[in-house]
Amino acid sequence: MHRIEAAIEKAVRYRPHGIFISETFEQARQQARDAIERGVTPFPVAIKDCFLTANTSTTCASQMLDNYTPPVNATIVDRIIANGGCVIGKTNLDEFCMGTSSALGHFGPVKSAVAEITSDDWLIPGGSSGGSAVAIQTGIVDLALGSDTGGSTRNPAAFNGVFGFKPTYGVLSRHGLIPLVNSLDAPSIFARSAEKCWEFLELSKGIDSADSTSIDLPELPRIETVKGLKVGVPLEYHNECLSEEAWKHWNRVVNFLKKEGASIQLLSLPTTRFSLACYSVIAAADVASNMARYDSVAYGHRSAKDNNTHELYASSRSESLNDVVRRRIFAGNYFLMKQYRKKYLEKALKIRRIINDELLNAFKDVDIIVTPTATGTAPKYSELRGTLFSKEDDDDYFTQAANLAGIPSISVPVGACEDGLPIGVQLMANRLKDRTLCDVAHILGNR
């Protein structure tokens, strides 16, 4: 109970950082009492506001869902609460998870707590699960739930110096996760250690009859050492965007693993450089389709302009969805048109298959692949605004491939750069090797 009260106190203290869209303190207290009654130890959690929570608004940081309260909990939310999780609040994000800055949501930006914030500038926490990452970094909660479609958990984890773990696609149920890209979305875990990441995976994983794409995770033995482990280092991840600092830390990690007895292999994953283009097309198509339901008829923001049905749809959507979202819907509808589908979408799907095969092939030779998580440390809001947010795409480069292949991936905090900002390194493993991935991350985290 004390832990929950402490979490609430902290959440109040960090309000200027915009971590939560809604605070659910009373419910957290009730959940704690219920847990104790069941003989379960309560612990504070934060849930990204794109997971359905019954009786609590779920907004996706959009005006469209400003007043939306879902009828049910997401499966994963139910499982976390059943195991003692007490939801302190719903965390802030990029609108409908589109972005890696958590800066443009309808309810204001998330501001990193790694550095001081001034009245008009702050350090970007990464995104889209920025709120959840900061909730862990500030110590408000023990577990924060994020979602990861192209790096939305690993990227903010790296920027905030915490662990961000995207499990194998399907291991965590998507039922109740408001989709971004259905075939790439993975509910993901933020925690302050790799062990905690694994622990939280264990209590929420497993087949969910409501999600036909959910799968079981086979048991694997725990590994205590990296001795004999085959570690792959893909050449193509050393690209022109990568900062000197990031490169240095990446090297340091590889050297550490080598020193500990792992064998290092250089790999080539040449198709990775197309992952951004591939991702953009696939994502836009899914976005256009998934967003079609926001027509303001049964729920969601409804415009006052309602002279006819189509005007009602158009104005309700235009008024309440931000530019990023609307651009992707526009692009997606273009890619889905009869005359362009073959030219763009079907090609993108083929490239996805190649990227997938390339990665899975690599895992015939290695157990773990090590790469940077992002180009460098977190930028300032002013820098990002200056580049019109194009830096977001540069960072996505490192994380997208894992989503395209559905493999588990984790961002491990590996220290601070000269400017004192945290930096992360990404580990990837073969499908269903989530256990091994967390074990290696744990060894790396404890070095």
Binding site: P71, S209, V297, Y313
Partner: protein
């Protein structure tokens, strides 16, 4: 009235130019499956007040995923077998996008490129009063696709009770399971189209796939109609959402006539969607000149639907167990003609009656005999203002007994007995009744001569007129004799006997 005149004139013209223009008709039949729950949610499908059959998935709550109903797959497999379709190892679901207020997700989950079944052939009899002879027709089934139904929009006009005009949406039907049956454009007449739908309907009901009430929307039919000229394809129109056999018939015929009129005046038929009004006339529905792009996309939340061998077997076994549909049994086993078989099967009361007759009848009694006497029975009952067909099993037994005995009874006696049993409350077995009253037909010439002699003697005045060759008197005398025999002598037999009597004297 002008429409009827117009229809008439064009119909005549069609006949004269029949060889040049040929109607080409394809059907899409939307069959609502009678599963207990919806296609992708566990929401019950039973009738309820508006919006009382809606689970989060059915109203497109974001984040809620589809979960395929196994029973729908089972019914689809049965239907595939009935329509002799090929069932590929796997099929897939697609999203078909369009904005419509009663379709909450902005797309319908359907099967476009990889349907659950395809390439079928379905045969049925085509009959009609205007056709000399029924014929067997086989149509190509292009595909069967599992898909979601939409909700319903109710438009309210301005009224004191409900205020300004508004549209209300009922999601009860949203997400119910449909199978769309797509045929090739191989129908040539409206009659062929409706016989297909009628036959299909009876099979779907029999095999427990659909409740088959068209007026409730359980089966909705779209028809693509065009006229080809000298084997060159014409522009087609689509008549949407027809929900009665009658509408399908009149609307297709109307559309054929309408297109013919346009073409024969050198006009152009435009590719458009039309609706059938209550009179069966087709009217433009919405502009289809700009073809709708449904922006199809694979449904990412459902894995491929891989058909298990065991499922196929279950479907086959169930069909086997269910046996022939009533109309097939009447036609193939009992020997009814195709038209009567369908007609009887479509009328539950009639079917019950006929089934009883078949159970009670002697093997020698044929379907044609049953049909013949059913027609007579119907006339008798209508004249007596009682409901046809009779409801009791007892009557059906007496009815078939009488048919077995038809050659041992006079026609008039038989009709009289039918009238007595159909209108009265007779409980005595008809054979005992006949025995007790000696109602058997009298065939012995000596016996008949006795009746004739007796009557000719009794009414000497009339007998005189008969002798002088007065035809009316002859008939009167004949009727008197028949009545005197309690209708046990056949009219012709009496006539022969009278002539014999006259010759003798």
């Amino acid at each position: 009235m002008w429409t009827r005149r117009r229809l008439y004139s064009t119909a005549k013209a069609t006949i004269s130019q029949k060889s040049r223009y040929k109607p080409v008709i394809g059907l899409e039949v939307h069959v609502q499956l009678n599963t207990l729950t919806k296609l992708f949610s566990r929401c019950p499908t039973s009738e309820a007040p508006p919006n009382r059959r809606v689970l989060p998935f059915d109203m497109a709550t974001p984040g809620i995923l589809p979960k395929l109903n196994r029973q729908c797959v089972h019914r689809a497999l049965k239907m595939a077998r009935i329509l002799n379709c090929h069932v590929p190892e796997w099929s897939r679901f697609d999203r078909k996008h369009y904005f419509y207020a009663d379709m909450p997700a902005g797309y319908q989950i359907t099967q476009n490129e990889r349907p659950i079944a395809k390439d079928g052939v379905f045969g049925f009899w085509v009959f009609d009063e205007h056709l000399e002879k029924a014929y067997w027709k086989e149509v190509q089934i292009l595909q069967l696709q599992l898909e979601q139904d939409s909700g319903k929009t109710i438009h309210l006009t301005e009224s004191d009770e409900t205020g300004p005009p508004k549209s209300l949406i009922d999601y009860n039907r949203a997400g119910c399971a449909l199978i769309e049956i797509v045929t090739s454009p191989c129908f040539e007449t409206a009659i062929e189209a409706i016989r297909f739908v009628q036959t299909l309907r009876l099979l779907l009901i029999h095999h427990n796939l659909c409740d088959g009430e068209l007026h409730k929307g359980h089966m909705r039919v779209d028809a693509n109609v065009s006229l080809s000229k000298d084997h060159v394809e014409g522009t087609r129109t689509e008549i949407k959402n027809m929900n009665s056999i009658r509408t399908i018939h009149t609307a297709i015929n109307f559309e054929i006539a309408r297109q013919f009129e346009i073409l024969s005046a050198n006009g152009k038929v435009i590719n458009e969607t039309r609706a059938a009004d209550s009179m069966g006339r087709t009217v433009p529905m919405r502009d289809k000149e700009v073809e709708t792009d449904y922006r199809f996309m694979i449904e990412p939340n459902l894995p491929k639907l891989v058909i298990k061998e065991e499922w196929r077997r279950q479907a086959d076994e169930e069909l086997e167990k269910e046996g022939k549909a009533d109309f097939e049994w009447l036609r193939d086993v009992i020997g009814f003609d195709a038209r009567s078989a369908v007609h009887i099967a479509e009328e539950p009361e009639l079917l019950t009656f006929v089934k009883r007759c078949v159970r009670h009848k002697e093997p020698a009694v044929t379907a044609d005999e049953i049909l013949y006497w059913m027609r007579e029975l119907k006339i008798i009952m209508q004249r007596s203002k009682v409901n046809y067909p009779p409801q009791s099993d007892f009557f059906a037994k007496q009815f078939t007994t009488l048919i077995s005995c038809q050659h041992r009874l006079t026609r008039l006696r038989l009709l009289e007995l039918l009238r007595l049993y159909a209108t009265g409350e007779y409980v005595e077995d008809v054979l005992e009744f006949i025995e007790a009253n000696s109602f058997w037909r009298i065939t012995s010439p000596e016996k008949i001569d006795e009746f004739v002699e007796k009557s000719m003697k009794k009414d000497a005045k009339l007998a005189g007129k008969v002798r002088s060759g007065h035809a009316k008197s002859f008939n009167r005398m004949r009727n008197l004799i028949v009545d005197g025999s309690e209708k046990c002598i056949e009219l012709e037999d009496v006539e022969t006997a009278i002539r014999r009597f006259l010759d003798r004297k």
